[in-house]
């Protein structure tokens, strides 16, 4: 039953991800990305990770993508015809890597399908609620949490300093 929701969602996400990479204009890419984020939020929700699903929508689809759109519009970027022109010197290397990447993907798929997994553990009803995650976050992971806040602060300051027109 769940598979019926999973396959459309997964296919939707992969298609949009490909859309991010293939799309000629940055705006198109960004819109695809938003869609992909929402699809992934659905996938998270399917796994009862409700809290993360909400965060995915709020942080990624909301905050981060808005930032992307902002920058794209600020710089007034448009798609250029040169996007897909083959590079002068690295064609061979790129092709080689593409093949390697595909090979690796194939290998990974192979491995994943071969693994004999046990039956999954029984999950409590409270799994993935904000209360439970909050408890874990503020007990076992309180130090990484605080560090993450410092990281965000530093990123904020850094962004302001970098984006300022002139350092004085």
């Amino acid at each position: 039953m769940e598979l019926l929701t999973f396959y459309p969602l997964a296919g939707f996400s992969i298609l949009l991800a490909l859309g991010v990479v293939i799309n000629k204009s940055p705006i198109g890419s960004a819109l695809c990305l938003i869609g992909m984020m929402l699809g992934l939020a659905g996938i998270f929700a399917m796994q009862q990770a409700h809290f993360i699903a909400i965060l995915q929508v709020v942080i990624y689809a909301g905050a981060i993508m808005v930032l992307f759109m902002f920058v794209i519009m600020l710089l007034n970027l448009k798609g250029t015809g040169a996007e897909w022109r083959s590079r002068e010197r690295n064609t061979l290397l790129t092709v080689l890597t593409a093949f390697l990447a595909l090979g690796v993907l194939y290998k990974i798929v192979d491995i994943i399908l071969e693994i004999d997994l046990d039956s999954p553990a029984k999950v409590a009803d409270t799994f993935g609620t904000a209360a439970v995650i909050g408890e874990t976050l503020f007990t076992d992971f309180v130090l990484p949490f605080e560090v993450a806040s410092i990281l965000l602060l530093a990123a904020m300051v850094g962004a302001v300093v970098l984006a300022k027109t002139k350092l004085d």
Binding site: R89, N90, V104, K107
Partner: protein, 655 residues
């Protein structure tokens, strides 16, 4: 205790040298000269104090040793930094510091106005330090430091006018030629260590008669190596060629280093090592003949030179030859005696020639001098006294010392050695008076534009003192009567040698080795002091000296045209004038092949071989880098690509 002041003696000049060397430029001429002279004066006064302390030593003690610190220890090899005060080193210290002080004072006048005044005095003080180490050290290694130190300072000072090519070349020549001798000296020290297991004088000399066979190969090799070292430093055949060239240095340097002190270091070393030399009669013979040969050989060259300082240089070589002649016949006292008197009169002569050069505004060619005795009366008088001393006119100091050398050459050596010595004495009297007559007498050939003037007091005072010492220095060793010879009595503890017991030990050693000892009994025959023979020899050498002077008078005052007439077209004269072409010979046989060989090695081995390998490696790496730099494109995505490739590689390895 006064003897504990010993370490101060070399310290003063060292400190002076450091002060002048580092701060001399700021101090100004006056202070630099004052510091340098004061340092040497202090060391002279300390020497006197130490001398008094030494005299107060209890009966039977003949040496005092001051150990400052352990210098190096490596297994059995143990060297102390120590000074040995004994009768011999005291004599050396006294006249080195004394004469050194006078020359320092003189230099303050002579070097006046030189642009790097302080450099000269820094070197000069450093030289005093090294020379004092040389004479005061208590083992061969300390002596070797001093030995190299004086060589080094000599190099600095010969090349003092380093902007002059000839001075630089002369410095290099002195250094390289000295190196030959130094190498032999070092070998000898190593050999001594391998035999005795120590390089401390007292221990080596004490053990020498017991460990070495009289006349054996070991002691002969050691002493020959030591003597080669001495020939380098003391400018004897075959390593004398550097000394005449060394006259490129300032004149006080020639007086201090190349006449009075450093060049006599070889003689001092031989006397210091007399317990070893006494055991090697073959070496002694070599020493005597090299000495006598050098005395005669250098004197002949001295007759033909026209540069006033070069004549004195050859005269120095010749006089040191006398000292080695004395050493070679076992008359160590005579050698030291002649060394001391020579230091007085030769220093006076060099300083006098410096005064002449100073007065003539830099002229050194005797053909452009003449009749300046009226303009430089003090210089003339002191110069004349010293010349009489070196010529051997009684009762000046040179007469006594030279006579003693000749007397011992005849009685302890043989008639050939004496003949060479007396011929050299004749030539000495001749060329020294040739020098005096050409410089001070006759017609003036001075460039008319030059105003001849007497030197300042600071220069003439040392001259007067040295001339006085040259006059009375002979009193140190009044001959004829046993017991009156002060120097001989004084040096007796150092040069005391018990031949009979040494021979006894040698016989014992030979028997242990299963060999037969040769017959040595004839060596033990006591020689009598023949007073009448000595008186006869004195009279004879005085006559010889006067003959030489008279000849010089005829040639250079009465008939100045005679020398040219006699020498014209004489190929023999030309050869002597060109110093027997020895320099050219060395150039062709040693210097040029070495230079050519070095050039060959440089071009083939170094430039092609070694550089080729090094550059080849660099070129190969460069080639690979050229190919590899494509990876370093500067595009961020390329780097990301490499990350992915690495990630894939890890994945493939891990799974």
């Amino acid at each position: 205790m006064l003897l504990n002041l010993t370490f101060l003696i070399p310290l003063f000049p060292l400190v002076g040298s450091i002060i002048n060397g580092f701060f001399g430029l700021k101090l100004g001429e006056k202070k630099v000269g004052l510091i340098a002279s004061a340092a040497v004066l202090l060391s002279f006064l300390t020497t006197i104090l130490v001398f008094i302390g030494f005299l107060m030593l209890p009966e039977g003690e003949h040496a005092f040793k001051q150990t400052l610190f352990t210098w190096m220890v490596a297994g059995d090899f143990h060297v102390n930094f120590a000074f040995q005060i004994d009768n011999l080193s005291l004599v050396m210290m006294s006249f080195v510091t004394g004469v050194g002080f006078l020359i320092h004072v003189y230099s303050t006048g002579y070097m006046h106005g030189e642009y790097s005044f302080y450099r000269f005095f820094a070197y000069l003080n450093l030289f005093m330090f090294a020379m004092l180490l040389l004479v005061m050290g208590s083992n061969f290694l300390i002596m070797f430091i001093g030995w190299e130190g004086v060589g080094c300072c000599s190099y600095f000072l010969i090349g003092y006018y380093f902007e002059k090519k000839s001075a630089c070349d002369a410095g290099t020549k002195a250094f390289v030629v000295n190196r030959v001798g130094d190498f032999a000296f070092l070998l000898a020290v190593m050999y001594i260590f391998s035999i005795f297991g120590t390089i401390e004088y007292s221990e080596v000399f004490h053990a020498a008669p017991e460990k070495l066979i009289f006349g054996g190969e070991v002691v002969t090799i050691i002493t020959l190596l030591l003597f080669v070292g001495a020939t380098g430093k003391s400018a004897q055949i075959p390593l004398y060629t550097w000394l005449p060239d060394a006259m490129e240095g300032p004149t006080p340097v020639s007086a201090l280093i190349h006449a009075a002190t450093m060049v006599t270091a070889g003689v001092f070393m031989v006397v210091r090592c007399n317990p070893l030399f006494n055991l090697a009669p073959d070496t002694m013979l070599v020493v005597a003949f090299v000495g006598a040969g050098t005395a005669l050989f250098a004197a002949t060259i001295g007759m033909t030179q026209f540069d006033i300082k070069r004549v004195l240089a050859y005269s120095t070589v010749s006089q040191i030859g006398y000292m080695f002649l004395a050493c070679g016949v076992g008359a160590y006292t005579a050698a030291i005696f002649h060394m001391v008197t020579h230091a007085f009169f030769k220093a006076c002569l060099f300083l006098g020639s410096g005064s002449v050069i100073h007065g003539l505004e830099g002229e050194q060619d005797m053909r452009k001098m003449g009749n300046i005795k009226g303009d430089q009366p003090i210089t003339y008088m002191t110069f004349l006294i010293s010349t009489l001393a070196i010529a051997g006119i009684p009762p000046l100091s040179g007469f006594f010392s030279k006579d003693e050398v000749l007397y011992h050459a005849l009685t302890d050596g043989n008639i050939i050695l004496w003949g060479m010595g007396i011929s050299a004495a004749l030539l000495t009297a001749f060329y020294m008076f040739r020098l005096v007559f050409m410089t001070f007498h006759g017609e003036s050939r001075v460039d008319p534009s030059v105003h001849v003037h007497e030197s300042p007091k600071v220069m003439t005072m040392p001259l007067v003192i040295l001339a006085g010492l040259a006059t009375v220095g002979g009193l140190l060793g009044i001959p004829l009567f046993h017991g009156w010879h002060l120097l001989h009595n004084w040096l007796e503890p150092v040069i005391h040698f018990d031949l009979a017991s040494a021979l006894h030990h040698s016989e014992h050693l030979l028997h242990e080795a299963g060999r037969h000892a040769p017959v040595w009994t004839h060596l033990l025959v006591e020689k009598e002091h023949n007073v009448w023979l000595e008186i006869f020899l004195m009279l004879f050498s005085s006559v010889v000296a006067i003959t030489g002077i008279a000849l010089a008078y005829i040639f250079y005052v009465k008939r100045p045209d005679l020398p040219d007439k006699l020498t014209e077209g004489q190929w023999g004269y030309d050869i002597v004038k060109n110093k027997y072409l020895v320099d050219e010979l060395y150039d062709d046989t040693i210097v040029k092949p070495t230079v050519e060989g070095s050039k060959l090695l440089w071009k083939q081995c170094d430039a092609r071989g070694i550089d080729g390998v090094v550059n080849g490696v660099a070129r190969i790496i460069g080639w690979f880098s050229d190919r590899g730099k494509a990876f370093q494109s500067g595009f961020v995505r390329n780097y990301a690509l490499f990350i992915v490739v690495g990630f894939i590689a890890l994945l493939l390895i891990a799974i």
